[in-house]
């Protein structure tokens, strides 16, 4: 990992030598036009890229389109990847750009076409895990695009702050601020939606923490 991030023992180590060498070999094969290697590269990162796109866009079809565009761009521009740097920040930078482009296009479309997969209830009555997950997805949709991207990359893709800063091309401190604000706004949204109980027994909190 590119050095300036916080001490992060639980995060994935993207600088693992073996994985990196494997990836460089795979990329080298892709550059020769090896379609099997291209398939392998797409399969390897498909889940992560689609996950980011889905969390950013909230619609499966839009997310799949954005993920497809991302991989097509990646494969066409593999020769531009600086192999001295990590692959994932470069990949997520392209994915983030595709998502922002899709969001901009969606803002220009009529509202009836831009509907999230999840329609919020007026008043949620109980909180099983599925409903809570839907509430979180809705809460994410209310965030600013850059807050949402930074939050998803950190908490779901588990990238380090340094890698996110590289992917989004902003200073590391800005990324931290965005993630902190995202957390706070998400909690505030959940509280307003009644997802967080007003009175919490401390014992219950301690048991669940």
């Amino acid at each position: 990992m590119s050095g300036t991030g916080p001490t992060n023992p639980q995060s994935r180590s993207h600088s693992d030598g073996g994985l990196r060498n494997d990836l460089q070999t795979l990329v080298g094969q892709c550059l020769t036009g090896d379609q099997v290697a291209m398939l392998a590269l797409v399969e390897r990162f498909r889940g992560q890229v689609f996950g980011l796109c889905y969390r950013m866009l909230g619609q499966r079809q839009d997310a799949e389109d954005a993920a497809q565009e991302t991989f097509v761009r990646v494969l066409k521009n593999l020769h531009r990847w600086d192999q001295a740097r990590d692959f994932e920040p470069w990949l997520f930078a392209i994915a983030g750009n595709r998502c922002r482009t899709a969001l901009s296009a969606r803002k220009r479309r009529p509202m009836s076409e831009a509907v999230l997969d999840i329609i919020p209830d007026k008043e949620p009555d109980h909180r099983p895990a599925q409903q809570l997950a839907e509430e979180v997805q809705l809460a994410l949709a209310t965030l600013r695009d850059e807050y949402r991207q930074a939050f998803v990359l950190f908490h779901e893709q588990e990238l380090s702050y340094a890698d996110i800063a590289a992917a989004m091309e902003v200073p590391l401190g800005t990324i931290k601020t965005w993630v902190h604000r995202a957390r706070r706004e998400l909690i505030e949204y959940l509280r307003k939606r009644g997802a967080i109980p007003e009175q919490i027994p401390l014992t219950a909190l301690r048991d669940n923490l």
Binding site: P6, T7, N8, Q10, S11, G33, Q35, M38, L39, V42, E43, R46, G47, F50, G51, Y54, R60, E64, A67, Q68, F71, V72, L75, K76, L78, A129, Q130, L132, A133, E135, V136, Q137, H155, E156, E158, Y161, K176, V179, H180, R183, L186, I187, E188, L190, R191, A195, I196, P197, E198, I200, L202, L205, R206, N208, L209
Partner: protein
């Protein structure tokens, strides 16, 4: 329940510190419950306890969020879309340079030939001074300009006023082309015989091409053709 002022004054950790510490722990992907100071402050402070409960609910929701599957054949579609273009883009780069070089060299050759032909033909155009000598007195003056137009010139004006090289130099151009047509094939023939005898068919083709080019010059006549000592011995049958 203690008031906010009481809480701020009696707790060793303030609410602002609580949130900052909570963020630090989450940034390090740690567990807030392992921090005794956070638990102690949350025990006495409702807003901070709500904040702690909120992050707990948030991460529980994040954990259970479903991710729909990507449709079948996703990777194949990507590769089908990207692979031909990527191969073509790499191959087309070198092809583009070759095409550019070909176009530039062809354009240069055409420009050179056209300029040579133009200069050669100018040697055949009757001299303006000759025309002026043969003009009848009643012929209209050709060097006056059209009324109301300071720059417009008639075609006849151009014949008179266009810049021309002296006939001695124009004759030199013509002579240069003639000499080139004679000397170049002979030089090529000599060089070919001494250096690379295997290029004889190419040389013969070149000679025939140059000869054909000369014949296609506008205004050229057989009697104007220079003596081509090396050509006289050649005919198309030799190429085969």
């Amino acid at each position: 329940m203690p008031s906010a002022a009481f809480r701020e004054s009696t707790n060793p950790m303030h609410c602002r510190e609580f949130e900052s510490r909570l963020n630090d722990i989450l940034d390090d992907r740690g567990q807030p419950r392992a921090d005794a100071q956070l638990a102690a402050h949350a025990d006495a402070c409702d807003p901070c306890r709500q904040l702690l409960a909120g992050q707990q609910v948030l991460f529980a929701g994040l954990k259970h969020r479903p991710l729909p599957p990507v449709s079948a054949g996703f990777a194949g579609r990507v590769v089908a879309q990207a692979a031909p273009a990527s191969v073509v883009s790499r191959g087309s780069s070198s092809r583009m340079w070759w095409a550019l070089a070909t176009v530039v060299s062809t354009a240069s050759a055409v420009l050179l030939i056209v300029s040579l032909v133009w200069q050669a033909r100018r040697g055949n155009v009757p001299q303006p001074s000759d025309n002026l000598v043969n003009q009848t007195p009643t012929a209209p003056a050709r060097n006056h300009r059209a009324p109301g137009s300071g720059l417009a010139l008639s075609q006849g004006d151009w014949l008179i006023e266009a810049p021309r090289l002296p006939s001695r130099i124009r004759g030199g151009y013509r002579g240069t082309i003639d000499n080139l047509a004679v000397a170049l094939p002979e030089t090529v023939q000599r060089a070919g015989e001494h250096i690379a005898p295997g290029i004889r068919p190419i040389r013969i083709s070149f000679g025939v091409l140059l000869d054909a080019l000369w014949r296609t010059f506008p205004g050229s006549h057989d009697d104007e053709r220079p003596t081509r000592t090396s050509y006289h011995a050649l005919h198309l049958g030799q190429i085969a």
